[in-house]
Every structure is written in structure tokens, then in C-alpha cells.
Symmetry: D2
Subunit: 341 residues, 4 copies
């Protein structure tokens, strides 16, 4: 059955498989201490325009969020996030499990606003009782957000300004970063992100890898003994090559951006299709996730031919569903979808 359910339905880009095959019997040191990891890190630093960056590879998104947040925060600090932020909702309490509160602020199609952030922090420090409360120590944003939306460069800079004024780190979750960078409606480059954020990750799992996220610390701010802390979280991969080879491939010949572009192109076609067929959008998303308000009976019919994500109830007769394109979406997929719709 045709699936637009998410962007991690397929395996990995063929070039990754090819490289894994080619390098399979090289004997390499474990735990990321191999030349593919080294090469991948160098390529990422170059792509970021940030020679002083420090890059580490982890396996998955929730793991990355948990480790970055837990190792960068002091025990008495929490992380500020949108109410709809992934860390606030769909990580099974992984952040709290590591001892930190997620401090929620309002969201607008998945994004936070610098003014709300400022107001939150000023109120916190203005409260005579703030020593009895959780200190805001970091701000978490996702880009694209869980709703496919994107920050503008100015918005990122405004948020960063508040962060730095109040000594909070700015952390950007780039699980779908490739799709954000390739959007036609963005003025934010990878270099911008490296310059503005204190730490972010470049998502592999959802952009063509079997698994893997590349964490980038941009300001000489890697937590002490980070490898030991990764191990302590059960997240240190013995065969680090699996991550190194994947990212080395993704950052060779701009593959990462090309994969992003494919998803975006397919999403543009998808959007036209949806409009054409008279469906209503829940919000305007410039990336690979599209949210549609659909009549419940129609949704059930659709479910017979195509897989999509149930998002939330809209009203008694309508539901919001998500259709996602990806690095692997083909024109044939869209043709079939067109028929079905």
C-alpha cells in the first residue's frame, strides 16, 4: 500500500548502502574512533562554515534530545520549549526521566516567539520565589517544527538574543533539517544555524539514513567527557562506523541537500494536488509535512488506499491528518496518490 505516513518508511539512500558494502571488511576501531567518522565530522564542519565546531554522532532523535539537554543543563535547570515541541509531548518523558523539567511556552503553528520567551524569563527572575522554581537554562526549538513550519533568520536571531541575555543555550532540533534547508520559503542556511545556535543536530534518520543524528556544538561548549556521558546514557555505538559512513556519504556531493530537495519538490506537487482536489489545509507548511483537514467519512475511504498519520480531531466531523513526502518519494507515488484523491 502507498504510504505518505512519515519520512522514515524506507531504508537508507542507495549510496549509503553502497558505501557500507564497500567498506564492510575494513578493520576499524570502535566507538567512533575511525577515519569515516573523522571524515564525516570534517565535512559537516565545513558545511556549517564553523571550523571550531565539535561534532558527535548519536543514533536517534529522542536519544539526542535527552543527552544534549541532560548534559548541557545544570541539575536545577529546565528547558523551555513550545507546548507542541517534541520534547514536551512525544518523547515518553525522556527529558523528565533524566531529571529536567520542560518549561512550556505558547506556540504558533509549532513555533515559539522571542517576545513570549522574554516575558517568560523576565517573569521568572522577577518572582521573589524563583529560587524555589526551575531555572530556565536552555531553549529548545525544532526547525522544521513538528508542524513543518520554519523560523526565519530574523526570528532565530531574536530568540538567540533573549537566550544569551539570560544565559540560556539555544538548542535546535534538526530531525528534519534537510527538508528545512531545501525549502523554497526559507532564508536560513546551515551556516546561519551554526552561527546562531549553541548546539543543534542534523537529522539523518528522517533524511535518508538508517539511523543517526549529528550533534554540533558550535561554541567550544561540548559537555565535559561527552563520550563518557554518551556511554552512561547507553548511547555509545560500538561500531561507530555505521554512523560515520552514513554521514560521510550524506555530506559528500551535497547528497543531504539533494535528498531534502526531492522531498520539497514532491511536497510542492502534493500541495497542488491537495488544493486541486478541494481539501483544506490546517496550516501553511513550507516543508515536507502537510496537514489536511478531512471529513471523517472521506478519511476512512482514503485509508483504504494510502497510509497517512492521524494527527488530531478537528471537530466532530473532521480530522487533521498528515501526509509526508521524503527523500524517497517518487513521481509515481504522487501519480498514484492523485488517482486515489
Amino acid at each position: 500500500m502507498l504510504s505518505f505516513a512519515c519520512d522514515y518508511n524506507e531504508g537508507a539512500h542507495p549510496k549509503i548502502l553502497e558505501k557500507l558494502m564497500k567498506t564492510n571488511f575494513e578493520q576499524l576501531a570502535g566507538y567512533g574512533d575511525d577515519h569515516y567518522c573523522t571524515s564525516a565530522k570534517a565535512k559537516i564542519k565545513e558545511a556549517c562554515g564553523c571550523p571550531e565546531a565539535d561534532v558527535h554522532f548519536l543514533v536517534g532523535g529522542t536519544q539526542t534530545n535527552q543527552i544534549v539537554i541532560a548534559t548541557m543543563l545544570a541539575p536545577y535547570e529546565g528547558v523551555v520549549a513550545a507546548k507542541t515541541g517534541h520534547v514536551a509531548t512525544h518523547e515518553a518523558g525522556a527529558i523528565e526521566h533524566s531529571g529536567h523539567k520542560v518549561l512550556e511556552i505558547p506556540e504558533y503553528d509549532g513555533k515559539i516567539k522571542a517576545c513570549d520567551l522574554r516575558s517568560y524569563v523576565e517573569t521568572f527572575y522577577g518572582d521573589g520565589n524563583h529560587e524555589h522554581m526551575v531555572f530556565p537554562g536552555m531553549v529548545y526549538i525544532s526547525h522544521p517544527t513538528e508542524y513543518g513550519t520554519l523560523y526565519s533568520r530574523q526570528e532565530l536571531e531574536d530568540i538567540a538574543e533573549v537566550c544569551h541575555e539570560f544565559k540560556m543555550s539555544l538548542y535546535l532540533d534538526g530531525a528534519r533539517l534537510g527538508y528545512g534547508l531545501a525549502s523554497r520559503q526559507t532564508d536560513v542556511s546551515l551556516q546561519d544555524i551554526a552561527r546562531i545556535c549553541d548546539v543543534f543536530y542534523i537529522g539523518g534518520t528522517k533524511v535518508g539514513a538508517f539511523c543517526g543524528e549529528a550533534v554540533v556544538f558550535t561554541k567550544n561548549n561540548t559537555p565535559n567527557h561527552f563520550l563518557t556521558q554518551i556511554k552512561q546514557h547507553g548511547a555509545l555505538l560500538a561500531k561507530g562506523r555505521l554512523l560515520g559512513i552514513q554521514f560521510d556519504t550524506l555530506f559528500t556531493d551535497d547528497l543531504y541537500l539533494k535528498l531534502g530537495r526531492n522531498a520539497i519538490e514532491k511536497a510542492e506537487t502534493l500541495k497542488s494536488l491537495i488544493k486541486e482536489k478541494g481539501y483544506r489545509f490546517h496550516l501553511e507548511s513550507p516543508t515536507n509535512q502537510q496537514f489536511i483537514i478531512i471529513e471523517n467519512g472521506r478519511m476512512e475511504e482514503l485509508a483504504e488506499d494510502v497510509m497517512f498519520s492521524f494527527w488530531e480531531k478537528y471537530d466532530d466531523n473532521h480530522t487533521i491528518i498528515r501526509l509526508a513526502t521524503s527523500w524517497a518519494t517518487t513521481d509515481e507515488d504522487l501519480d498514484k496518490l492523485a488517482e486515489v484523491l
Copy 2:
């Protein structure tokens, strides 16, 4: 200076001091294994009308919340609370520090509603992704709330019904329980609480003890090896007698309720005084905490003569402040306050 800042400004009720003195040189076993603890527990069980209850003494309120929540929840569960609940706001992240998320629902003058709770839980289980989210395992309410308000018996029963339908424990934080029980506007008795809730605590610190909270498990549901778990949280008092003797005294000759009544009587006078002097109430509180909206200039004048709690900004020109009576408030205190106001 006159203080209405809170209900823990003084030491302990003189009868407690007297009893501490009288028993001082008795040689008693440590860790709560003494006859004063035994006697106090028996008296509390009787007052609760709950012979099968299991009573444990802890030192403070945040400690009690942290231990009860952490020992009763499974690791994948969180605790549902009002946005203004003490565990959600003023405990420095103690709940998250022990690994559990506080799941916030709307509040109405500090109280939650059974219908909101039901809606929250139904949405949770209705979400196809709920295994990626924090399970609601317990409901936390405070009575009186942080705003001095009280649940009616029917409200408690409605909340308990939802709890039990969805296999959540109902936990009542009774830091100021004495003031709630003594209110003239309550139909909730200690026996009702013991019957309706799965676990609750009877606050000592704010109702006449130097320190101490009595946790009551009402449904044969004490966590396994609870003493060991208390110790593991660093909360096992070597000289358990200090807690046993205080609660034994508080539950002799209805002292606990009498202390509650004093605070309520004084609060009634305080309310008349406030009305008389033309101040505006932020909300109607039937217990010992009274919240007043005061013009900022007037607040500064007042602060020269009397201590109160800053609560929050009301608007640019007004502030909400809290005045609290207690077991120790005297008529003279109120006379002085009347002059000042």
C-alpha cells in the same frame, strides 16, 4: 514587625514543646520505631475512621510530594496536576528530578475539574501515539489549594471516579489540611478524605508543628519497602520521635482541629477588616490565605508596617498580595493590622 506573610512564621504549639521536654530523656529506638510514633499513627487512623490505613511521618511538604509520587508511580507514568499546583510550580523541579513529568491541566482558583481530567485522559488514550507519551498514573490535588480554596465532597468524589476508572491514584496534598477541615464552608471531613483518596498527607509544618507531615495510605497500597525508599530519598529521620511526639500531641484532644479553627476565626475577622477598609479580593477563599488586589503605592506603604507575600502582578498599577493567618495568630495581631490598614 507584624507578619501575615505565611503560616509558618512561628515555632511550634506550646503543647508540642512541653511534650518534647517531658519525654526528652526517654531512650527510644530510632527511625520511627518508638511508641510515640506508634501512638500517633493509631490516633491518626482513628481520626481518619480508617483502621486499615498505613501512616508514615516525613519531614516536609516537597519531600513528601516527591516521595509519594516517585514511589507510587511506575517509571513511565506522570502525575496530573493543576497548572498552579505546588508540584507544578514551586518545588524546584523535585518531581522531575525524581524522573516524573507533571502533566498540567486547567485550574480554577487553584482547583481542577473532573470533566477536564476526564477529557485529558480520554484524549491521551485516544491518541494512537500514546505509547510515545507519558502515561497519567496519578492525580495530584491540594486541599486547601495554593489559593486557599476547597473542594466540595462531591467534587472530590467526581475526581476520584475518573481516577479509578482510568487506574490512576488520587493523591491529596494536605499541607494546610487543618485549615481546610476547620473552614466554615466545607462539607469535607478527614474521614471523607480517607475514604475518597488513595493517599494524602496531613500537614504539620503549617499547622503548628516545627516540621512533619503524616502520609496516609488508605487502600493497602503502601509502596513496597517504603522505609527503605524513604531512606533512599535521604528522608528517614534518625530521631523519628521528633515527628511522632509532634503528631501524637496534635492528635490528642483534637488539638489539630483547634489550631485549624483559630486560623479560620482569625481569617474571618481579617476578611471583614479587608472588606471594611475597601480592599478588593482577588478570589473568595474560605480558609486562612486571603488574596488582595492592592494599588502599588498603597502596597509599598503597607510593607513598612506588616509583612505579607507578594503573589503576582495584577496590572501595571496593582499587585496581588497574600495575607495568611495561622494557628498562632492572635486578636492583638488583628487589632494591629486594623490600625495599619
Copy 3:
């Protein structure tokens, strides 16, 4: 350079790569909810002769130890292990990080004895103060151990008897299980392990997979909401297929055992070679890890031609080193080593 440093120097067995390639564009559900995971689980249950088993896939060994121990123990319980057990030494405190103490007992070439275990537990419960101590809730053994040694079936049964008498789970870390099962000096089968242990894992990372460990709960004792708990530890792989396909391949046509056998055959040759060349063994290991006492000067010469693991100082002039064969070791590797030695 030739490497006998460890058993995870290469990528994955070619059949795994082949299968990943072949299935690459199938659109599959995430989080292990795909038919390759289902198939792999069925094959593992069959190989274990344990239809009631419950199988889950995780990414790495420390992660698996951390999650199994943390989710099966009560908060007041610790895990008993040999002083040299992996959880006691080389996991960066991952077990303590999740809140549990590792309770160390004596080891004999990496193994524990049922009599020591009994004595430990009896002393614990005999101590009047045991409620102030950490309860032994689980016993951790590795098979093969960190020293390549193996338990006999009788030894496992004796340990299990003590475990069950004192209500402790028996957990077997099978990071190198394939090499243990294939040893010529073992009477322990996979079915024995499934019958005797409460939980164990079948190591993939060190036996031919890129990554992956298969946890087997054998007694209807999977922790509640285990998927949620995996997610909470940051260990839930989005593309669960990566693990399912690997284990499905390893458990097709006995590949897992065949890989084990290759390492054992090569280890037998290695042992002959070592004896022949007059080196001394630190201990007698029936599996793929061989420990040699080597004169320091000789060690430095050797290091120029072949990679091995430094284990520990033996005396001022000698060092213990480890040479490991694996699923990927070839006759050519051994020929080259023979020349070097």
C-alpha cells in the same frame, strides 16, 4: 594492519547487507512494528524453544543492560554481579546513572559461584539493618564472561536456584552468546538459557551485525509498557527494520551459530599457535577471547604488526593482552599472525 583487537572491527555479515539492500524500498511501519521484526522474533522464540518468550530489539549492549536492569528492578533494589562484570566496570556508571547499585561479589575468571551468591544474600537478610541497605533484586551474569569463560549448565542451574529462592531475577548478558554456544567445551544450549534464565540477550553487535541485541523475557515477565520505557531511555529506533532485518537474517539457516563456529575454529588455531610459540595463557578460555601474559618488550614489538587489546598489568615486566577472533576472522589472518608471532 592486522587486527585481533576485538570482535567488532568489521561491518556486518554480507547476508545482512544483502537483505538490507533487497528490502530497502519496502515501505514499513516504524518502531519495530514491521514484518521483519515479527519474523525475527518468531525465529528467535523457536530457536529458544520457548514459545511464550517475548523478544525485543535494542541497539547496543550497555543500553540493553541499563534498560533491562532499570525496568526489572524496583527502585530499592540493586543488581548482584561479579566484580569484573561489565556492568560493574566498563559501562561508565550506566547502571548507577539509572539509580541502581551494582552489588559486587567475588569472581573466578569472570564467573560467580552459587555458594558466594547464597552467602551474600543470606548475610543481607540476616542483617538486622537490611532495610537500610540495597536489596538484591537481580543477578547479572555474562556468558561468555568478560574473560571468555563459560558456565556449565549445572552452574547456571545452581545460580538460578538461589535466585528464585530469594526472589531475584537471573539475567544473562549474551553480548558474545554466539561464541559461547559454539564452543566445543560447553553443555549449555540456547534452550537451556531460555529455560534457566528470567531474561537474557542475544548479542548481535559482536556476532556479525552492525548493531543490535535481542532481549528475551522468558517467563511472561516483560516490564509493563516496555516500548514506552525503551523510548524513555532514548533507545527506541525509528527504523526498527534495521534491527529486525539483521536478526531475521542471523536466525535464518542457523547463520548465528555458524558465525559463532567460525570464531571458535579460528580461536582453536590461535590457541595452538600461541602455545606453539611459547606464550603463556593468563587463563583457559573456551571461546573467542584469549588472554596472554606477554613480556613488555615483546608486546611493543608485536604492537607494530598487529592490533590487540591491552588488558591489565601483570607485573612490572609483563602485561596481559587480549587477542580476539570473530565471525570475520579468516585463515589468512591467522597465517599472517603466525608469521608475526
Copy 4:
């Protein structure tokens, strides 16, 4: 029945009760922000000869150990302690519960040796795999130890030297510090401890207070937002006055040392008595805890008349028991004991 079971069998020194009474109706700020806490801190700093010290009051010993260790260590660090150290044995895993491993080294009548410590740390850093292990970040010693023994000043300095060479904090658990300082066989003063250690605590609970331990940070090394972190551990006392008044009393007119001296004098008499009656000592203790090897039948007889602590089995026919004197032990107690023995 006569009790020599421990040093916390009685309430508090009468002067403490007197002061609690006298100050009972003063209206004081909560959470330690009152003038008795301020005064007590000043007196302690003076007694320590350490004006730059930072003093905080906590309620109990395990709580203090847990908080000091957890707030001073980085997540990847553990605390080195004697195998018999209180944190390693009788704290129900409170240290591990807060995420940190206790790294055990050999003990000699409860004490550790600088040479063992050095050897442990050197081996750690010499191990090529140390990034996969728990970093030693702090050294925990108790003075007096759990066996009543004392370090000499030179021994403390030797341990401190190793600590500082390897960037570990030296933490001294002074649960019974008063009895150590008052011993006739010590050359260690409170000033020495303040000079040599990075952090230590002055035990109140076991030396005449109802509860309370005074933590002293001596090197401008108080953990950030320590009050918030105390609160987060559930350990912030609302009526901080209870601790302030007790320590203010203990550090007025040398009361703390006087209480220590009483216990020591009584212990000297006790030791003579024991020798006289022909009992054998398990070890030579210069403080208030005395360990005796007693024939099992004799022990049972003794248990009819006097309470003591079972320590451990000595052999099949003998047991080690502990008799402790305290600030409250009287000549009459010893006379009665003489009769019984």
C-alpha cells in the same frame, strides 16, 4: 531498659529545648533566612577558623551525603570510599539513586589509606579504557569512621594531597564529629578539618540535636544555586529556624565540644569496665563507639538487661556488638552497666 545501642536514643540537649521555647513566638522568615541561622553560621565559621566558609543546614546524615555528593560531582563522576563507608553500605543506595557510583577501596578499621587511593586513581587513569569507566571525582571519608576510629592530621593531609593532585574533592562525613574532636587520642582540630577538606559536615543529630547537620564548604566551592538544589532534593526545611536555633545553641559556649567530651569520658570508663570484665575488643576505638567480641550465649543474656547494636557475626560462637556512649550518657548508666556486665 538501659540503652547503649546508639548515640541518638535521647531527644536534644536541654539548652536546645530551652532556646526553642524562648524563641518560639518570634515571627521569623522561612527556609533558613532568619537571624538564628545567620548567627549559627557565623559561629561555625569562627569555630572553623575559616571566614570564607559557606555553611548550610540540612536535616539528616544520609540526606547530607546524598546532596553534597550529587551536587558536587559531575554526572560522569563517582565517589571513592572505604568498603565500609556509610555511603557504601547503610544508605539504602541513596548515592546510586542520585546517579553516582560509590567506588570502593580497601579499609582498615574503617579508614582508607592515601597509598591505596593513589594506586586506585593511577590505575584508573592508566587504563586505556578509562573513558568507559566512572571517573573518581570525590573522596568520601568519615571521621570518626563507622568503627569509631580517627584519622591523624598527617593521614588527612596525605589523602588531601592525592585528592588535589587528581582534581577530586575531599569530603569528610562528620556525623559524629564532636566525639572525634573530643577524643584524647586525636591531633585533628575543627580548624584542621576546615583547612584540609573541601567540604565536610558537623553532625548534630548524633551529638545532641533533635536533627540537623551543618555542611561547610571551605574553598568558595558551594554548588551553584545550592538552596534550589536542596529544595529539589526535598530537603529544604520550611522552618529553618529549627536547625538554626539548634546549631546556634551548640556553638555557644563550646557546648558542641562539651557534649563530645562527655561521651568520650563515659567511653573511657566503659572501656575500663569492658577490659576489667574480661571482654575482648574487636578493635581499638578512641571515640564513643566500642566494638566487643562476645560469646553468643553471653550476648543473649546481656540483651535482657541492656540494649546494644548487633554489628556482625565474628565466628560461629561469637558476635561483634557495639556499645555507644553519647552526650547524654550518665555515670548512673555506667554504674548500671557495670552491674549487668
